[in-house]
Each structure stands twice: as C-alpha cells, then as structure tokens.
C-alpha cells in the first residue's frame, strides 16, 4: 500500500488506537509461581513441575523479583503503584493453559495511571494532518499487571503450522508459567507511526530496566492493537477491531495502516465494522478475521485463594524507585546538555536501541567532547547507512567507538578530507582495520601544504587559458572545473579548502 494512500485517508478520518503489550520477564531465573528455569526453546516439556503443569494440590508462590520488576516498570512509565493489590484467577479453557485458569490481576493491578511521551519525527508527522512537523504526544497508560504466560502449541497436519487444516496439535509447557507483564494503553494513539514509536520506546525502557530481552520474533514482547476509525471532528468512538500477530515494529505499523484503510473503505462503501479479532498476515499484507465464536467471554475472575494479597509501603516503593537506571528520555536530555548535540541527533541516538548511545558516549570519551557533533554526524550518516545496508546491529558491526573517534580526529587535524573519510569508513567497516592504518597503507594523506598546491594550481591555470578567460569574464562557476583538475593531478589528496583558496587568489589576479 502506498504511503500517501494512508495519508489521504487520514485527512478525512481519524484513527483511535490502543495497545496491549505483553512482555515476558525473560531476565528472571525462574517462572512466575514456581522454581522452573526461564529460557527460550529447548526440548519440549523439560522445564516443568507440578505447579506450572497445574497438578492438583500444587501450591504457586509468587516470584519476588517478578513483582519488583513490574513495580520498577510502572515507576519507569510514570504509573502510580498500588498500595494494595492481589492476583485473580481468569477462567477459560484452552489447551496451552494447563490449569484451565490463568493467574492474572483484575481490579487491583500493581501499576496504574501512567504515561509516556512519544517523539514523532518529520516522516511520521505526515500521518497527522493536524500537525505539520515533528511533534511529541503523550500516550496514557491505563495499567500494568502481572500474570503468567501460556505454553506453546505446534499444529500438525495443516500448512505452515497453521491451526486451520491441522489434524492434531502438540503442546509444550516449557513457557507455561513464565512471568508476563501486560501493559494496556489508553486509546490515545492516532497514527500507525505513533503506535510504532510508543512500542519502540517502551521496548527501550524495558531493555534499560533489564526486565526482558523484548525479542518480538521469539515472542518475548507481543503487541496487540485495538483500532477504530471515525470521521475527523467526530467525538464518538467507532466500532473497534483487535489486531494480533504483529511480530515486528514494521508489522505493527503496516498492520495498523492496512486496517485503518480497510475500515474506512468499508464505511465509505456503506458497510459497517464488526467487533472482532483480526490476524495480521505479513506476507499477504492484510488482516483477516479469526472468526472466533460469537459467545461473549465470561472469565469469572475471582481472587486467587492460593495467594495472600500485597501491601506495598511508601518506603518500599521508594526503595524500588531508587534503583531506577537512567531512562532513555533522561539520556536524551543529558546528551543534548552535556555534548551540545542537536535534538534530532540525540533523538536518533537514543531512540532505536541502547547500543547507539553507548557507542556514542564511548567514542566521545576517546575522541573528546569537542568532537561530539562530528562523531554524531559519522554515526547518523556513515554508520547508520552501513548498518542498514548490511542489515546488522551496531554490536555486530566491525566498527567500534575508537575507530570513529580516530576517524573524526584525522579529519579535524586535516590529515584527510571529509571525502576521504567516507572511503576510509567504508574500508574500516569492511575490514575492521583502524582508520589511521588504512590512511597509512593507502597513502591517503591529505596535502594541505600551500606551496605544493600552488605549484599544481599554476600548472593547471597555464594549461587551460580558455577557462581562465571565462572565469575572469565573470563566469565564476568554472572554478569547479579547476578544483577538479587540481584534485585529479593530486590524486584526490589535496585539502579542498586550501585548493579553493589558492585558486581564488591566483585566478582573481
């Protein structure tokens, strides 16, 4: 679907989006209510015990570290931490849930009433006709509660492991009972880009807190979205659909974009929206109805009788708050204040991953704070392009902070030109060699010696009398021709600034 299609739809329609984000507490050693280890994959049914298999008489005991992680997550997202909270049983039947109920939280969750401020850059702002540049928007967080994850099913006999057409299924309870944090937002999100930025920012916060690896492909972070549309200016909510199975940020964005267009087309054609769950198919680029039974869910929540309630003192909550690390927003502000880099640079460096800001600070420590902007430039341009082209993360790249610091130093000291720096970058990204060594090896040193440059300039001027006449006749653009000639003669190693100066002086005379 073309980008402008969504933009034109959003000129007439407003989308109302709320997210439900489940995050597995993968950083913990053990599951939520038993001592079975937390891990990904492995041989089926090898990390299970009577508690997570739901055997009669087994007694679940909550993991203290999981509760602390959830409270920490609430504090990091501006939530109020409940003084009084408890677990409930949510009753339903599904084969991946051994107890026939899930231990969750109902009316007394650990955290409520938070928010995150989300920065939307220029491109994404195009989805908001009521905003005309990059903007910041506040997304409310209704609640964060703690529950347990389900097991996994492998569907056999159908195509591509899908449930449709399967003859039977295999159930693996290794994941069952893993601590699962569920965050629910207010319906404050208006565009697919805002949804993506919110989810990305939340992931960064969770990574900073160290509560989860937030791997969307492996399912340790799962984002579901409720979306409805209404004509611009309307204040009543439209009928919503719930979208599932978006296992990347791109999928989240694209699924919402498609769903918004689908709903508006349906309404434009005189149809109506059915409240239902829809499955995103990233391959076919469309959502389709899961056709779940019309029967309304009745979970019959009741207080978990196997566990006592929680009472958190203000002192205890403050003691957890004291362990909060520097969060992405604070880091962004600090990078701007401490190094004087532009807001855009700081937003990019802290916006997608923790690694970039870490890399930046390491490079600045080596190269000096006065080179912070130059280091940031190399990272936002050369490094980002290299990472995108290679499809790798900064941790996987051969480029390390000391190399970028050294490269910037070589340019600032005038050893190489910024054009040469691009070549050196490409080579160091490929080989992992230090930039100084590359410059040495390839004899790339820039010539800034005015005497040497003057000699070549005089030769070029003597050899091209026609162009000299053009220049002196007022056609000063021809200077580009002379720069090119000098550079060619000097193998591209002349300092362009000095060449321009000398040329202007000699030609002007």
């Amino acid at each position: 679907m073309a980008k402008d299609r969504l933009a034109s739809v959003l000129e007439r329609w407003e989308a109302v989006i709320g997210l439900e984000i489940h995050t597995e507490l993968t950083a913990l050693n053990t599951k939520m209510f038993c001592g079975c280890p937390v891990a990904f994959g492995g041989e089926p049914n090898t990390r299970v015990c009577p508690v997570c298999l739901g055997m009669p008489g087994a007694l679940p005991v909550p993991n203290r570290a999981a509760i602390e992680a959830t409270v920490l997550a609430g504090l990091a997202t501006n939530c109020t931490i409940a003084e009084w909270s408890q677990f409930h049983r949510k009753n339903y039947f599904y084969p991946d849930m051994p107890k026939n109920y899930q231990i969750s939280q109902y009316d007394l969750p650990f955290c409520a009433d938070g928010f995150l401020d989300v920065e939307v850059e220029h491109d994404g702002a195009a989805q908001r006709p009521d905003r005309d540049a990059g903007y910041t928007t506040r997304i409310g967080i209704t609640r964060i509660h703690l529950e347990e994850d389900t097991g996994k099913m492998i569907h056999v006999g159908g195509s591509e492991g899908r449930i449709a057409g399967a003859t039977h299924s295999l159930v693996d309870f290794n994941r069952a009972g893993t601590g699962l944090m569920e965050l629910v937002t207010e319906p404050d999100i208006r565009t697919p880009e805002e949804a993506r930025r919110f989810a990305q920012k939340l992931r960064l916060i969770w990574l900073t807190l160290g509560v989860s690896d937030c791997n969307m492909e492996e399912g340790s972070m799962r984002v579901d979205a409720n979306v409805s549309v209404r004509p611009r200016g309307e204040t009543e909510l439209g009928t919503k659909a719930e979208i599932k199975n978006m296992n990347s940020f791109k999928s989240l964005h694209d699924a919402l974009a498609h769903e918004i267009v689908r709903q508006t087309e349906e309404l434009d054609n005189g149809g109506r929206i059915v409240q239902e769950t829809r499955h995103w198919d990233a391959g076919a680029k469309r959502t389709s109805s899961l056709r779940s039974k019309e029967e309304a869910h009745d979970y019959r929540y009741f207080p978990e009788p196997d566990m006592v309630p929680f009472e958190f003192s203000a002192e205890w909550i403050e003691s957890v708050r004291a362990t909060l690390p520097e969060l992405p927003d604070e880091k962004r502000r600090r990078l701007i204040d401490a190094y004087g880099i532009p807001v855009h640079d700081a937003t990019v460096l802290t916006g997608d991953d923790l690694d970039m800001a870490e890399f930046f600070e390491a490079a600045v420590t080596i190269g000096g704070a006065e080179r912070a902007k130059a280091i940031s430039n190399v990272m936002l341009n050369d490094l980002s392009m290299h990472l995108n082209a290679a499809g790798i993360s900064v941790a996987e790249s051969k480029v390390v902070p000391s190399m970028v610091a050294e490269l910037v130093g070589l340019v600032e000291e005038g050893t190489i030109s910024s054009k040469q720096a691009k070549e050196v970058f490409a080579e160091m990204a490929e080989t992992g060699d230090a930039p100084g060594a590359i410059v040495e090896l390839r004899g790339m040193k820039q010539v800034s010696d005015t005497g040497a440059i003057e000699e070549v300039v005089d030769r070029v001027i003597a050899a091209n009398p026609a162009q000299v006449e053009q220049y002196r006749g007022g056609k000063t653009a021809v200077i580009g021709f002379f720069v090119g000639q000098v550079m060619r003669e000097m193998g591209g190693q002349a300092n362009p600034k000095v060449v321009n100066e000398v040329l202007a002086r000699r030609l002007g005379g």
């Binding site: 993991n63 599904y94 084969p95 449930i163 299924s169 309870f173």
Partner: protein, 100 residues
C-alpha cells in the same frame, strides 16, 4: 437472591460440565442454599468491616528467584492420554480460545 435454572446451565457451559436436567435442578438447589447463607451475612451491619478475599492476616508472601528441580519429562508426561515427540497430543482445535 436466587439463581435461575438458566444461570446454572450457563455456568455449567462455561465450566464445560454436561449436566442432566435432574442435576441442573439439584445443583440449583445447592447453589441457592449457599447464596442463602450469604443473605444471612448480608443482614449484619458490616459498614465498618473492609472487604477481604482472605481470612488470613498475612500479606506479601513471596519466594526468592531461585531455580528448583523440575520433573523429568517422563514424569511430566506420565498422565497424558496421548504423547508424541516429548509433547502432549491434543485433538484438532475448532475455534475459540484466548491468546493473551
């Protein structure tokens, strides 16, 4: 407060219980008898008694995040009516469920 026959059948459906008409009637009587006890409690003046889900005066019972031994896979699967490839085998799933 009393429970109707339709409510008994609805709760039975949610709990996946297949009841005979005779059982619906008997369970309806049982449930109404339990609700009768609650009505008795309701007649008391409980304005000053905070609601509680627990009789115990205990809060914050937790455990440390320490690994304990698991069951062997043989033990874990021992009660499975059908087992294959180290997993419980279940029949074809037709709709429904909840993935959250």
């Amino acid at each position: 407060m009393s429970i109707s026959e339709a409510q008994v059948r609805h709760v039975a459906l949610l709990a996946r219980l297949k009841l005979t008409d005779e059982e619906v009637a008997r369970l309806g009587d049982d449930l109404n008898s339990i609700l009768g006890h609650i009505d008795t409690i309701r007649q008391l003046d409980l304005a000053d008694v905070p609601p509680t889900a627990h009789a115990l005066d205990v809060v914050n019972e937790t455990r440390a995040d320490e690994v304990r031994p698991c069951l062997s896979r043989e033990e874990a699967l021992a009660n499975g009516p059908e087992v294959a490839e180290g997993a419980f085998v279940i029949p074809r799933i037709v709709g429904g469920g909840d993935a959250s």
